[in-house]
Amino acid sequence: MGSLDEVLEGAKTVFTIFGVDITESVVNTWIVMAVLVILALVFSRNLKLYPDKRQNIVEIIVDGLTGLVTSTMGAKNRNFTPFIGTVFLLIAFSNILGIFGLRSPTADFSVTLAYGIVTFFCIHFFALKAKGWSYIKGFGQPFIFLLPINIIGEVAKPFSLGMRLYGNLLGGSVIMAMISGAIALFVPAVASIYFDLFSGFLQSFIFIMLTMVFITIAKDDED
């Protein structure tokens, strides 16, 4: 993580293709994607019925995520686990990239808003699939006059999701830049455990929890 000015300046443009700026956020997301793909290849190679150490780690993660999805969304929505798990790992690895001195892709509002919009489309796609026309009619409930307010509430969801993630990450990197600018020895390392590791995992956990809750409410709520 660079100095305070660098953090506040936003993501730098690394190179330009056909007039499109490829910023640090995009390049760092590529790094995260490459790491995740390599980890997936390494950990899914020759799986056995009686797992060894390597396979046990993955089984703990998959079991934990399946349990979380089942307990939050109900047993019939168990097949959301791959999507939720992917979002969790992507955001978690993006968040903890700050430890390695790179700029977290999630400290950029365009990236987090994109994640929020993915959630937005998920909510409405699965709700429409499950409920059909009655879901659209549900926006006019209890009175038709509340239609604009309901629509604004729905449109605000991706913004609030994205803003929460972005603000936390940006705030974390600002504080980290201040601490490492003020004290050089030992203290930044301890602060990094909280602001990069703990906060990063917590924020990605909250993102997937809210995603699951929103999807479940829109999809399965009887009214």
């Binding site: 000015d5 506040l8 603000g167 940006l170 705030g171 956990f205």
Partner: protein
């Protein structure tokens, strides 16, 4: 640079401070309330500590949202000052 730029910069910094006053109060109260209730719940049911902890952290993070909004607003205002000066 005229005095208007100085005034704009001064008020932007002031606004950033005021935003953080408001944004500090609400989430602090909300998070403290959630933590207090969490401690109460652990006292009543120590065996459910893991689940209570998760729920409490989730609720606190959601309560934190408004504070984060004001932090973003404050940072944007400081960004304006950096651009002017």
């Amino acid at each position: 640079m005229g005095w208007t730029e100085y005034a704009v910069a001064a008020f932007a910094v002031l606004g950033a401070g005021i935003a953080m006053i408001g944004g500090g109060f609400g989430p602090a109260i909300g998070q403290g309330y959630a933590a207090g209730k969490g401690a109460e719940a652990v006292g009543r049911q120590p065996e459910a500590q893991g689940k209570i902890m998760t729920t409490m952290l989730l609720g606190q993070a959601v309560a934190e949202t408004t504070g984060i909004y004001s932090l973003v607003v404050a940072l944007l205002l400081i960004g304006i000052v950096n651009k002017i000066l």
